[in-house]
Each structure stands twice: as C-alpha cells, then as structure tokens.
Symmetry: C2
Subunit: 430 residues, 2 copies
C-alpha cells in the first residue's frame, strides 16, 4: 500500500453512541427534569422511559467486541456493553485501539435522526429534551475530546423555523452537522422537495452545515414480509440509500440551495450504477419530464452535493473514479454489528492496496474533514493522528466484550432468524 | 468488437405487448364471453373494462418510435401506437428492423404479473379469463411466430394447487415461463418463503420452468412522496430489484427447490455490490442468524438460480466477471420509453466492445436461450437470426410513431413532472 498501515489517518463519518443514564441530568432545566427520559429497571432489563412510553432499546446492536456467535439483537443492560458504547473516555480509548482519529456519532435512544422528540405529543417538552440532547452531545460527548469528534445535532422537524433556529444555535456553538431523515414525507410532513423546508435549508447553508442522512430513516420497512430472512433485511438496508439519492438528485431544492448531504452507512458500490441510470434518465427523459439540473451533468450534481462512505466495499473502491474520489469517505460503524473494530486499519489496508497516497488520504480522512469543515487534524498534527500513534496509546487494552448473559440474543433453537424475531428492535429504527 | 454488429444474435428477455381489442374473443368459452374484458370508448379514449371497472391503461408507456419530446404517460387509443405494440405480425417486422431475433413479452392490461385476474372477486371468472389470456398469448402471439418468441404465462395466485395445475397445463403446451411478482406478501398471500407455495414451486421445477420476476411488481410505491420528481422514480425502479434479490437469496425455498428466477428489467450494475454485501453478511452474520445456503457461497447460489438482464449498463458489463458471465442477458424493453429500438444493435456494439466472442454470444442470446430452455436458434440457424439477416428484411420500413394527438402527454406548461402527474398510470403497475 502507498501508505503504511500505521501511517493512515482514519476519520469515521458514521459511528453511534449509546446514551448514558445520566445524560439528561445536567441539561434539562429544573422545571422539566421530571419529564426527561430516564432509565428504569424492568424484569432485569434497563429501559428508557419517556412520556409514559418505554423505548425498546438502550443500545440497538451495540455488540462491539463480541465473537460473531454472540452478535444479537441488543444488550438489555449497560454492563453487557463495552464501556466505549456509552462512556466517552472509554470511547476514545476504543478509538485509539482501532487507530480511529476522529468520529461522527449518531444517537441511539432518540432514533438515529431524533424522531423521538418530534413524535412526542407535547411540542414544548419535545423541544426542551431535543435541546438538552444537543447540549449533552456537544458539551459532554464532543466537548470532552473536541479534537476527536465531529459534533452532530438533532432538529425539531415539526417547525422549519424552529429547526432553523436550532441550526443557528448549534452552529454558533460550533456544531454544523444535522441528522436528517431519508423521507420527511413518511413522518407526515411536506416532502424534501417542498418550500416548507426552505427556512431550514437556508439556515443549514448559511452556517456552512451538512445534512447527515443515515440509512434506516426512510420510515418504510425494508423487508418484504415478517417471515423474511433477517439476513435479507441486512442485505438491503444499505442499497436502499439509492432510493433517497434518486429522490434528491432531481429535486428542485438542489437548484435553490447548495446543500451538502452525507449519506451515512449507505455504502458506495451501488453509486456507479446509480449515476449511470440517472444519466440515462436525464439524457433520455428530462426533455419531457422537464428536470432542471441548472445546466449541470448528473455526476456534477452528485459530486457537488453528496458525500458517500463505506465500511468494506471492494467494488466501490475499484470504481472510485466513477463515483468521484473527492466524495468517498470511510466509516467504522462502532459499536454496531457491522463494525470492523478493532481491525479497521487491517480492513482498510486490504481495500486500499493499489491506490495512490493522495487517494488514500482523501478516502481515509481528507474528504470527511473538508465536507464537515473540521480543522482538528491541523490542531493535532498528522503525526499524532495516525493509526500507529493512536494504537501506541492503547497497548495491552482488553478488547473483549462483557458477558452476554441476559442479553436478548438469538433464540435458543438454531433456526433461521426471520424479521419477526427482531421486529421489537427494528421498531426503534423506524 | 469481436463480433461485427451485423453478426450479433439478439434475444430480448423483456419486452411487452399491448393486448389487441379482440384478444379474448376466441379464447373465452361462450357462457363467459359477456364477462370478458372489453374495450370501451370513453371521452375519446379507449379503455379496457372488466367486471365493472375501467382499467387505467391500454398501453402504459407504449411510446416506441416517438421523438423524446413526445414520450409521455400512455397512448389513449390504439391508433396512437405503432402497430408493433399490439399486432404480432407488425411486432415481428419491428423486431426485424431492430435485429431482434427473439423476444419474451410481458402483458400490459392484466398487470405485468397478471394480478388483475387474482384481484377479481369472482374466482371462477378470474380463472377463466386468466386461462384465456394464457391461451391467447400462447396461440395467437407466440403461436403466430413460434421461432421468434419465448412464451410466458400468468398464474392464479389465489390457489397454489391451481397455479401448479396451470403451470402443468401450459408446460404441456410448450410454455415454461411464468410471470411472478416481487412480493406475494404484498398481495395479501403468504410470503415467498412460505411452504404454502410449495405445490407451485414443485410444478415449476418439475416442468423445468422459470419464474420471470419483473420490476414494479413489489406492491410498494417506489417514490418518497407524491410531489417527488418523476425522474427520481424512474431512477429507482431498477435498483429496487435488489430488495427482491436480498429477500430471496437467503430464502430457505432455494434449498428446497432448484428454482430458476429471471429478474426482468432489473439491470445488472448493482449486482456486484449486492453480491459483496450478501457475502459480508453471510460470512459475518449467518453464524448467529443461522442461514443455510446448503454449503454454497453466496455467488454460487446467485448464479445457480438467477438470470439478470440489462438495456444499457456499462458498469455492469465492465464488472461482468463479478456477476457471472453465464447469468447476464439482454433486453430491449419494446415498446416502453426506455427501449433502444430501433438502435439496439448500435447500443450493444458500443457496450460490448472489448468483450470476447464467447462473452458476447452468451450475453446477447446464449444465456437467455439456455435459461429459458428454448431451441429456436437451432431451428432457425444462426445465419438467419443475425442482426444483418433480420434487418435485411426490414429495409425501407417506416420507423416513426403515429401522431401523438390526443395522447395523455406531459402537461402543457413546462414544469417538472412529479409522481402525482403520473399517478393514474402508475396505479396499474402496482
């Protein structure tokens, strides 16, 4: 490889945190404290309870460190997870062990895109908790190690002006990445294409922000039936990002706003086909469907607005020139079951073999830091951000997961898992 | 190119016929004749009426021959279409003009997979009409030029034993391809994975048959909102085939039956990524999700069961070795708006440049004829089946479409078409 594994600088644009039990304590005003989500013990499990409703997962698929046989639906208790899931200092130690220099973390409890706070009946309560969430993420998670994270905030979907306000509030603090779902229409709001969202889009663009759009947020089930093999569901969640990209690439919104959109956990191998297909449609059909791409080619629109990322994606890396070397980035997906921790550098070495130094630097960190407008690498210095430098700090660390005892694991009988076996967990992602 | 354009032999595995007004006359028993679908004139348009219900389209997107500016939603009247849409002799002349040796045609009026006859309340009536449809297709369409078509039949979904019976009845006549939808669960029946379908699967395998699964038959809308750009919808319909393939590749059904499944109009460029993703899941997750692939690798399962096809797909052709050269075929999609008629040989020459003779023959016709078990090329002789030989019979033909006057075309104002503008038409595909 053109860069030795130890000299790679890895910035992951898609990881997840499991929220610690005390996360709301410091950030919810006193008069609202009773209403904040809190952890309760129920039949040996720990569950978040909010507005009278128990939420299915404290940490969906937070199985990092387990042997593959013990991957499963979710941990029931914090002590079943590696501390790196919910403790930011432990997280940084886990990042060191994996040679991960920096990480962009999505939530768990409020839903990947924060829909929990929008779905609550009392809007005022929703807003208080959403802001508390953003403050916790910014101050306690990102703020604990500000050179190791790219902060992300949630938005109140129910009011674009309020969303714009939250964008400006968080941007003033230094957070310019906003989790947004694949399909706001499925949440019951006007679609992505509607002028309804203009105040929000304007605010995001004004602050030089990014919409981070994570897979699994389209509001539609990604399985054909409840008895469908669960592995088939896993196989289609990434490629489904193409339906979001299709919806957006022809959208008039992109002609009104220079939106930057990160497609989180979407993979990259489908992108060349997708771009060819859109080009075909643009050349063949736009003359009667009257699409307006502002005189640009499809591939130009794509590269101007989108950032892609991958975990392990040999096809996509091979076809990087068709995607655009400047819009590909890397993700670890810690602590979920697809993550390559603690061997991401080894996985990346294999995939990046044959690429130039310049290409490797772009994919591993430069594109991510540019797209999310982060200067942490300059602050820290490359020599302190490499796989080698970080792993040196983690020598001798215990890389195992705690006992899975009591975890909601696979059914005891060895029969194929179907979607219905995991429906309870999947609910929280919808 | 390793084979001169005129020496190509082109077999299209996905075309469509528009049913002619008299199609049911000969094939419905006298006592049922009044109940057969019939064409009625309504406000200047011709419409099929069946069991009191007017069907939206006589020929969805049957716009072959039109300049791109005049592509549109559908023709309202037969005289707005090229006769090749609904007249089998004219179709063969159009195939000659395009150098298409043979064609597999899907229906229009009954839905691509024949759901019309299943959705009718009176099961007996549905069965009579479905059989009449199959008889018409076999006798009047395929039967008029049996060396130029691969016949296809519809099945009564509501009863797997009855479906098995229809499979055996049609196979005895010489038809072994059966249109099947992407998601029977969405039709309200047990899923693809359920033993419910075993009698049907058994019959298909017993007769050496093929399930032809066409895009757009998943029963789910492939757009995020009604105001989504229509071009975005067009962009996602093909790649959506991946959700069908994901559902099926891990299905226990493939371990019980050696089913052959053609993914019609699904494209091929997404397949390498899809196979990589499934391989990742199989290697990483099957140990806890307990998938049973019978000891085979994902790619082996795929190649054993699936046939893919493409219209214009440079990425897919480039990555053919990852897909499997033996499971790629070609389609024309006549008479729909994506079809390359009358220039398919020119499109194919460009795409197949750089491939070996062997690869070109496999993609253009050998794989299709083997998969669908057709001996028409031996019957006719290659020298009579080539682009050059066929086009020689079509010299001087008028290749234009009739006037689009009165056709439901794009709205007069030049504004971007949204899904809602075409919803009336899309209904009939769901």
């Amino acid at each position: 490889m053109a860069i030795a594994m130890d000299d790679l600088v890895l910035v992951s644009v898609d990881d997840h945190m499991v929220e610690p039990p005390d996360m709301f304590e410091r950030h919810v005003p006193a008069k609202w404290r009773d209403r904040a989500p809190r952890i309760e013990e129920r039949k040996g499990a720990q569950l978040w309870v909010f507005e009278g409703r128990a939420l299915p997962n404290i940490g969906i698929a937070a199985t990092v460190g387990r042997p593959r046989e013990e991957l499963g639906l979710e941990p029931n208790r914090f002590e079943q997870m590696r501390a790196g899931c919910y403790d930011v200092d432990a997280r940084v130690r886990d990042m060191n062990a994996n040679g991960t220099f920096a990480s962009l973390c999505f939530p768990t409890v409020p839903g990947i895109h924060g829909n929990l706070f929008t779905n609550v009946e009392d809007r005022e309560c929703g807003l208080v908790m959403l802001r508390a969430y953003n403050d916790w993420h910014f101050e306690d998670w990102y703020g604990a190690h500000p050179t190791r994270f790219i902060p992300l905030a949630l938005i109140p979907y129910w009011d674009p002006e309020l969303a714009a306000e939250e964008v400006r509030r968080m941007a003033a603090r230094g957070c310019r990445v906003f989790s947004f779902c694949q399909n706001v229409a499925a949440m019951g709001f006007p679609s992505f294409h509607h002028e309804h969202w203009d105040p929000f889009y304007r605010a995001v663009c004004d602050v030089g922000g990014v919409l981070a759009v994570h897979l699994g947020t389209s509001g539609k089930p990604m399985f054909n039936s409840l008895d469908a093999p669960f592995s088939g569901y896993l196989a289609q969640v990434n490629i489904d990002m193409a339906s979001f990209a299709s919806d957006v690439i022809f959208s008039p919104v992109l002609q009104r706003f220079p939106l930057k959109i990160a497609m989180s956990e979407g993979g990259i191998g489908w992108v060349p086909y997708f771009l060819e297909r859109c080009k075909w449609i643009n050349e063949r059909h736009s003359i009667w469907t009257h699409d307006d791409l502002g005189g640009k080619k499809i591939v130009e629109v794509f590269r101007e607005h989108f950032l892609t990322c991958f975990i392990d994606d040999p096809c996509g890396v091979e076809m990087r020139d068709k995607i655009g070397i400047d819009c590909i980035s890397w993700e670890c997906d810690y602590p979920h079951s697809d993550c390559t921790w603690p061997e991401s550098p080894e996985f990346m070495s294999e995939q990046l073999d044959g690429l130039s130094r310049e290409e490797i630097d772009k994919i591993t960190h430069q594109n991510a830091l540019r797209f999310f407008d982060s200067d942490i690498l300059e602050k820290v210095g490359r020599e302190n951000a490499t796989v080698g430098a970080l792993r040196a700090q983690a020598q001798g660390m215990d890389l195992s997961a705690p006992s899975a005892e009591g975890m909601t694991g696979p059914p005891k009988e060895k029969r194929q898992l179907r979607v219905s076996d995991l429906m309870y967990q999947l609910q929280s992602t919808l």
